[in-house]
Symmetry: C2
């Protein structure tokens, strides 16, 4: 019994560039301007880790309250920039296919409820689907906790799980969890970066993954 564990942002739903821009604005307002590409390369790790990494680079100590307030501001800017969410091509179809075929699958995201609810709705995710979010575990990606929690809830063996993600953090967390991983280009990382981070295969998006699903031996 094999299973697919999906990242959410940049993998199933097209939110990466709005996240980058919202973080850039929230950090600049807090006196920590940082280049867009450095944010982009960190999307997918937990907001807390990310905020602290930026503060350390800026050489600026950051209280827990400040870190929390920057994260809140990011969330507000993000919702304003992107009130509606757009599933990536093929995402809704792929989830429906897996469900119809009885192939186990779940979502494991560094995002947090209720922030991710609009995205889940756009994907047509029903209440009985396994969704593990930031609030369910102690440590977000690149720690393996999210993927391991998802695997436990799916009731499959670690070695039978494939992680599908767009960011090196997904692939790193998959490695730490002892799972194989598949990369998709829809988050804006290049193919070589994803292969270099451990993806055993890279597709342009989940639509291409769906069309090539036999290659995964599911």
């Amino acid at each position: 019994m094999r299973a697919l564990i999906f990242d959410l942002d940049g993998t199933l739903i097209d939110t990466v560039y709005a996240h980058v821009f919202a973080w850039q604005q929230a950090l600049a307002e807090a006196g920590m301007p940082i280049e867009g590409w450095r944010i982009h390369r960190r999307i997918g790790m937990s907001g807390g880790l990310f905020t602290r990494a930026v503060a350390r680079e800026a050489g600026r100590p950051l209280s827990d309250a400040e870190a929390e307030s920057i994260q809140q501001r990011h969330g507000a800017l993000f919702r304003k920039l992107l009130p509606e969410r757009r599933p990536l091509p093929g995402a809704v179809d792929l989830l429906a296919f897996l469900r119809a075929e009885g192939i186990r699958h779940g979502i494991a995201t560094s995002g947090r409820r209720p922030e991710i609810d609009v995205s889940l709705d756009a994907l047509g995710v029903t209440g009985d689907m396994v969704v593990v979010d930031r609030g369910d575990v102690l440590r977000a990606k690149p720690e393996p906790d999210l993927f391991l929690a998802c695997q436990e809830r799916l009731g499959v063996e670690i070695r039978d799980c494939y992680v599908v993600g767009d960011a090196v953090w997904d692939l790193l967390a998959a490695r730490r969890a002892g799972m194989l991983s598949v990369g998709v280009l829809t988050g804006g990382y290049g193919e070589d970066e994803l292969l270099g981070a451990g993806a055993f295969r890279v597709y342009r998006g989940v639509d291409e993954l769906h069309a090539s699903i036999d290659e995964l031996g599911l």
Copy 2:
């Protein structure tokens, strides 16, 4: 006599992610929603080329007036998203250094005046610096026209010009112009993508290029 020809957006000034987001919104409003990463991978080509490429992919014929109107809307959204421009780290210092050392240099951008004026101001570009923009040539990147026009105005040989850019379009246009090129990561492309497109060297940004400038044999 060697010369450096710089791309502007993503190379000297941190605008790529705002451009991606503004294009995404302008195209969605025009009934052509498209994924962020596909826009990102096309930033740096001319707005006209880009708009037509997207329309072709969407299988939708586009009149000149519509293409122009989408470009105008992109410009308006971009200015609203990013009223102030932030030079990338080291950009202002590098330009001042080249000027002080008498090393010829110029800017060649697919952007258009007056849209680029705020960026040039933020970089401290003076009126006597060679700046070639979209309005000066018939064809933007990836055609070589912008770089060749810049090279002519700098009064140097083609073989003595280095192009510095963040996007594959810069590197492709440089090849077509017969110039060597250097890539920077500040536009969000990965190192392998830039090397694969022909950069003979890749730096994290123009600050690292500046620190390593002896490697270019200028």
